[in-house]
Amino acid sequence: MKVTTVVGLEVHVQLHTRTKIFCGCVNRFNPDAPNTQTCPVCLGLPGALPVMNQEAFRLSLVTAMALNCELARFTKWDRKQYYYPDLPKAYQISQYDLPFSHDGWLDVSSEDGETRHIRINRAHLEEDAGKNTHDESGRGGDSQVDLNRCGTPLLEIVSEPDLRSAAEAKAYLEELHLLLTYLGVSDCNMQEGSLRCDANVNLHIEQNNGETIATPIVEIKNLNSFRGVEAAITYEADRQQEEYSKTGRKLGDPGVEKETRGWNAERNVTFAQRGKEEASDYRYFPDPDLMPVTVSDEQLAEVRGSLCEFPAARRDRFEAEYGLSKYDASVVINQGEKFADYFESVAKGCGDGKQAVNWVTQNVLRELNERSVTVADFPIPADVLAALLQRIVNGDLTVKSGREVFDELLSDHDKGMPPSIERISAIIDEKGLAMLADTGELDSLIDATIADHAKAVEDIRNGKLQAAGPIIGKVMKQLKGADPQTVRERIIERIQQNS
């Protein structure tokens, strides 16, 4: 019996505008001062009217374009009507039959390394509701309503049911998160609810007779972390399988309707939710207070011209241009745009993509984690790291010495000294880390000295490395400023090479 989990995601993204979608109240997460960012419009006061925020519409176009969507030339706003205390007009201004965009896609790397092409049904623009807080004591106390969030521009991105596992759903959401962050259309702060997700989940179960049945579709509401998405879908798939084995109920059976469930992140379970409206009949109709929008070719060209390079394209380019492996390119890109920018500056500056990727994905990333900072606050600027790596690439510095300089630059920073290209040279000098510019000179000097110390050479060959002392002393005397460690290593190397 083959069981496939089938998932479609509805992702709600708060757009990063200065003001709300229909009024001039600031668009800012502010739960600590409830009901301080409202006006007659977003309070839904009698007589107040909405006017569309142009930037919210532009950011919507940018996103839909990045999601490869078809953009409608004519779009309008509709009222979706239901009663809930966080919805002061008792309707949400949304888009029903003529959304501004439809039929796009997003490529996602699945667990097996395959690229999965996830179709997007539509993206539409709407207003966010306020926030209700319930009495948690269980004594049935009053609920509280804060309308600061009410009227935040919200983009709803609806995927087709093309996702085939909990992990794939998570990967889709991560890729979407990355893309939205790249585009700068949203801060995508999941703790603050700027990216929220509903998951439609059911199972396709292949029967012994080769027939496939589908379990009833469940919509899990309000998932607000990557882990939550994965865990909730995993739980729900198991629950549906168990339910099916008990009841045999399947999609299309009489009386089987789409069920809405919530996700309890503490107990790691989904739970049945009562519907907001007994029979949800939203009575959509065109909002008479808002005029339709037409989009011209010129406008689309302008938006297209303003787009940045998308993560997927950049991943491919990094592989091609800097010779990165698929894996390394993904690690760099998935860290976000700023990190990828940092990598690219370092790679360009030092002329060696592989060297750069090793350093940024290992040393830099480790430091960022330890310091709990983003690359924007990393103490070593990209040009400084590039200068350091260039010396390694040129053979002026060993990788090991490079790490020493790197650590020293960081401890400089911690002492209040800004890392700079000049400091690299100073550190190399102080620590005598330089590999000699002309190794031929050092080698011929060593060879000449070795020839005078046959006994010591013999001892070294026999493993008595401390016998190198006199030879080092002789060489150092003639080559002032050389690093004794380097000289020592080189002497031992030459003796062993010549044996």
Binding site: C39, P40, L43, G44, L45, P46, G47, A48, L49, P50, V51, M52, R79, Q81, Y83, P85, P88, K89, A90, Y91, S143, V145, L147, D281, R283, Y284, F285, P288, D289, L290, M291
Partner: protein, 492 residues
Amino acid sequence: MSLSTHTTQDLLDQLQSGQLTSTELVTTCLDRIDAHDERIGAFLHFEREPALQQAAEIDRRRQAGGTLGALAGLPVAIKDNICANGTRTTCASRMLENFVPPYDAHIIERLRQADAVLLGRTNLDEFAMGSSCENSAFQQTRNPWDTERTPGGSSGGSAAAVAAGMTPLSIGSDTGGSIRQPAAFCGVVGMKPTYGRVSRYGLVAFASSLDQIGPFANDVTGVSRLLEVLAGHDERDSTSIDRRVPAYSQNLDQPLDGLRIGIAKEHFVEGLHPEVEQAVRSAVDVYRSLGAEIKEVTLPHSKYCVAVYYIVAPSEASSNLARYDGVHYGFRAEKFDNMIDMYSATRGEGFGDEVKRRIMLGTYALSAGYYDAYYLKALKVRRLIRQDFDRAFEEVDVIASPVTPTPAFKIGELIDDPLAMYLTDIYTISANLAGLPGVSLPCGFSSEGLPIGLQLQAAPFEEERLLRAARMYERETDWHTRRPAMNSNSAS
């Protein structure tokens, strides 16, 4: 002094020349309200002191030689469905009995800038739904010409206040005739501008795609003066049109050369009171005698207006009035079992019968399975109605018609027959559906002594032509100078 013999222009001239102070004028109005409004019931609430203070301030500024607004010192009464910061705005509904808006409607800002004196708040049918002021939750306004009769509605309070000489100017809103019909019933001039000409920001919505604010006065000049102040673009109303506002009162007295008046045969059919028909036809004769060309036009879809309107308006209303749910403002029921019951009890108790009926009708028309048959169908016929007008206005400049099928009806006469009541809007509704400007002006009296109105309609944004055409007729007649006998109910 008495307002009844003075036009808006007279009053403005007297204020300007110093013959009259705003304080005197406002005092006269307030005294008249005191004397007669117990009987007429035009005002829902007003405060003497703030109005007098405002008047005194304007007088002071005038004396000091300061620059004053276009309506400086003139009192204006406001229909109680237009928000003014800090002033109770009830919509004649229990639901908003104690609602105090924290903001000014666009037109209130305009009136303040024009230095008009905000006199008080006039009665209406609850949420502007009705044609008689019988649906006010608080009081019945009576027609100053015959107090057994309604003043019309929904802006009945504003029309009655002007007719009774309690204010020279007032503001109404018109969704299906709510300015023009009471103007006709009360024998004053009332105008509905083109949709988008006056900002709706701050007008409590009934049916958003039909609502429009407009002026009342005793004559066309007064209406023009007031419209000049109200009209203009407002970026807070997406349906407000950014277009120059002509100085309507400037060339008002210049007759229009070659004016073409349209008469639609569909307007003169069964149900039209013979005296109303007679008065309107005589008015058309006046135009003919002034050299206007009278042409017959056809508006083949006009018989569908009422049906379209009573789907579109309740549908939008059902949505616009959903917000009155006892959470963020307004009335909340005292007894309920839970959240959902709180909503239903609040709305069940807070709204009156007609409002609930229209919410039900609209909810039904928009609900799953009925949307296409009712709402969508109505929107399509609405376009056909508009196209009729577009064609007609290729032939003529204005269309003349009755405002109402009959003069003012009696209080209680139609209250139990909503459909019959709805059909009284048959001549006014199409201007709202098509977005056209329309004006109602006095054109005669019935044998019972009730005023009869003439309606003129024009193409969108042709207010200037419409008002000049109206003034042409007004100059030739004296209907607009007649006033109801106001037998004071207080000893004088």
